[in-house]
């Protein structure tokens, strides 16, 4: 569950990135966060992942109040999240299996847990035959599937996808979004940041639109005008 209550963010250089955002996302929801470049989408993501703190207002993520979270608690908060980036951010020198093991090892998973969980997740994203492949041997769509598998492998309560289809062609983008929808149907909360209107319009989901740091629309429906 995410709650943003009257959140303001002003950077050190004086830029006011967010101006009084109020947002509530319940467990199990699928939400598109849309808006043009510079609207404040990335700032919201950074606030939710604990990279930055709000200048004013309250930010609550999966039960953690990020306004007064201790530094040692941040890793535990992040373990409730799976994060997907536009540029995949895979480790090139590791295989698909290695990338997933890497993510699981960081949270202290045992070898037995890895052997059990990784094949399941690879099967879920349709890459069960690619465990030994290296990222640079794969297409963009496949790499993003690996990134999704990595986000899923630690069984997070919520996935935050930051422009997950930004580097993909329309067909692959649709495949990825369909995959995210399927994962959401299995109970994982999904927050997808995008500015691809056509893609948002194809899915009948809740759309939160922001512009110039302000929330301008929050409603159900497959369209937006940011």
């Amino acid at each position: 569950m995410i709650r943003l209550i009257d959140v303001h963010k002003e950077y050190d250089n004086g830029t006011k990135a967010l101006k009084g955002i109020n947002l509530r996302i319940e467990d199990g929801e699928f939400v598109f966060l849309v808006g043009p470049s510079g609207s404040g989408k990335s700032t919201i993501i950074k606030l939710l992942t604990g990279e930055i703190t709000a200048s004013q207002g309250r930010v609550i993520v999966n039960g953690y109040n990020l306004n007064n979270i201790r530094r040692w608690q941040i890793p535990h908060m992040r373990r409730t999240l799976g994060i997907i980036f536009q540029d995949f951010r895979l480790i090139e020198k590791k295989t698909v299996q290695g990338n997933l093991e890497f993510a699981m090892r960081t949270v202290g998973a045992s070898g037995r847990e890895m052997r059990k969980r990784i094949p399941y997740v690879l099967d879920l994203v349709g890459l069960d035959d690619k465990a030994d492949a290296y990222p640079n041997e794969m297409s963009g769509g496949e790499q993003q599937r690996v990134a999704i598998a990595r986000a899923l492998v630690n069984n997070p309560r919520m996935i935050i996808a930051d422009e997950p289809t930004g580097n993909l062609d329309p067909k692959r983008s649709l495949e990825i979004m369909t995959l995210l929808e399927r994962i959401n149907a299995m109970g994982t909360t999904m927050l997808v940041v995008t500015h691809e209107r056509d893609l948002v319009n194809r899915f009948s989901k809740r759309v939160v639109a922001i512009k110039d740091g302000e929330l301008i629309r929050d409603g159900q429906g497959g369209y937006y005008r940011a």
Binding site: T49, E51, R71, W72, P75, H76, M77, R78, R79, L81, I83, R89, I91, F102, A103, R105, T106, V107, G108, S110, G111, R150, N154
Partner: protein
Amino acid sequence: MRRFNLGYFIREGFSSIFSHGLMSFAAVCMIVACLIIMGSFSLLAVNVDEMLSQLEEENEFLAFIDEDYTDDQIRALMEQVRQIDNVDPNGVTFVSREQAKRDYLKGHEAEGLYVNMPDEVLRDRLSIHVKDLERFNETVEAVCDLPGVVNHRAAGEVAEGFVAVRNAVTALAYILIGILAAVSLFIISNTTRLAAFARREEIAIMKMCGATDSFVRWPFIVEGLILGVMGALVAFFLQWAVYAAVSKALMDGGAVSFFSLLDFSHMWKRVMGVFLLSGSIIGALGSSFAIRKFLQV
């Protein structure tokens, strides 16, 4: 720390060393150089200290006793001398004028001139050992202030010279150790920083996946430790070789009668211990400093 993590940290530490082979080699070389210079000065300080300790053991001065003093008064005087701070209580010896004459003649056997010298020419005296050479002059003064002591003979300048040399060598050794430790820390720190920079993307991913700071930090600390220990071992054997070569050169040069070095085989455990400890601390601390910046994700 979980057991399976320990294996992972060690594997990652070794892997990182070989993936930045040249920088790791440079770091080991710097640690070796710094430890050898540190070690050489420390060994010099140890040898000078040892030599001065030997000199201190032999160090004594003479206090001449009033000719009118009776045996009882001399015994009382000796007791007073023993009470003085820095006087070795077991090192106060009475030397009668007859004994003094015999001792004197031993050194001048060839000179028949002194054979008929009357006993009265020399005075009864106390031979007094000091404990701390650094306080030699103040001890001499304290003895001379006692009633019954009419004169003294002491090589205060020599004592001061020895103390000055020892203090200078020790101070130099400490200063060099400090400077070289800082240089080693800097080099190790930079090596780790380069390694961390090359892996900054991995670190960011780890942090986003929920890795704790210590989980990210440990492989780098292990890397620093391994580099430090490797450097310490290489430095130890080189130090041994250098020390042996210097000892041999001193003996071949005929300087052995004046300045003989302690045998390395008696010190090797201590030297290795200090090298390993220094290398490990420098390696681990340098890595810890370097990685801090990359944890701010």
